[in-house]
Point group: C2
Chain length 256, copies 2
Amino acid sequence: MTRPAPQPHAYYESNRLLAEYAEFHFGDTWYGVENFPKALAERALAAMAGKPRGKALDLGCACGRASFELAKQFDEVEGIDFSANFVHLASEMARQGSVRYPLTEEGELTSERTRSLKDMGLDACASKVSFYQGDACNLEGRFTDYDLVLAANLIDRLYKPRLFLNNIHQRINDAGILLIASPYTWMEEHTPKDEWIGGFQKDGEDYTTLDGLKEILSPNFRLIQAPEKVPFVIRETQHKFQHTLSEVTLWERLPR
Amino acid sequence: MTRPAPQPHAYYESNRLLAEYAEFHFGDTWYGVENFPKALAERALAAMAGKPRGKALDLGCACGRASFELAKQFDEVEGIDFSANFVHLASEMARQGSVRYPLTEEGELTSERTRSLKDMGLDACASKVSFYQGDACNLEGRFTDYDLVLAANLIDRLYKPRLFLNNIHQRINDAGILLIASPYTWMEEHTPKDEWIGGFQKDGEDYTTLDGLKEILSPNFRLIQAPEKVPFVIRETQHKFQHTLSEVTLWERLPR
């Protein structure tokens, strides 16, 4: 996997992005759209009703909000992200119970925000979560035996999403749940076009990402409810927001 | 002014962007947010009540929707954009009364849209508008004698916004109106940091873009009403949207 050379403003940009995601996970809501990692965790927990809730994996955890939310009911939650910066912030939240970051208002003007687990009713969850830097397409063997794997806004940022989807069942217990959420925003800078799992024509017909998911996952999973589009909003400045719909699908691991 | 070298996917990207803006100007609305160029034209026309409505300039006109809307009351409207692609589409709409473009749904899947002036109640306006490629920082001398200049989502994309703002009064008739709308999204790829007119600290205090506008424009204009944040939504795919607030300020040209 080749990576672009660091850009002149890469450090500033990466810090700005970190603050955006910290606010996305722990901050205010806009346009009446509820907190997205929390909303996903709630959907996952609803699907786990009556099932064992031993260990969960939050893959592409970013700043970790869903991990904390899942720990309300799971014994143990592991969060993994490709970005060491994100993992560092998530770990800091778990260790200290709060984080502080500079939110962009306009241009280079910022305002400081402090967010705490206590204010989110999550302080009892900190001891059950742990965060690791890792690559969803090349996970270490120790990350296995999960009752739930949550993959939120992940698959369209992987360099080999098919590889990930072909193998993830090996890490999920029988009757365990895989939750995938994605806006299916395929971009060649993240995923080479020949690795896209949908969003193109095949045999002269539209072949969507949902078609691809069904084809790839069906040997090992069954889709347990109708796909649902869940909105999220990421604040970039006081005036500029990304307003996106992420399609949530819930898959139950077939018995081995 | 130096420009980056063309990128491998520049042609595809520029066509995708053109379709995004065609839909932004002539297409559907989302999240209950009204058509933005139309909303701005209506605010401008309201401010022109009782004033001469001879000639208007729509600077940074993109696909031209505001130009057509202004032509409901103005004798003549000129639209100028830096992008020849945008000007071409706007001109095509004026000449043919309709345009057709491929809207991105997911990945490279698209669906065709056709939009007509008639469906927007604007067919009588086509003969009053004309579109030109041009640079707001270096306008030809013939673009002058306007009763209204509309500058929508323009100033934070200029390489020398101060130069533009320092000179625009020369092209506006006495008691004419300048409408500026901007989310103040300053980015160094468009505007070198030393050309930003606000969004930084000055003498240890926050200095906003609105502060900068007031300082630069006050010798030749008076602010005639309180700034107003007007939302707009740009659809990128069926799932991904930019949801932005553009601050609208209305300025009346002081007598010479």
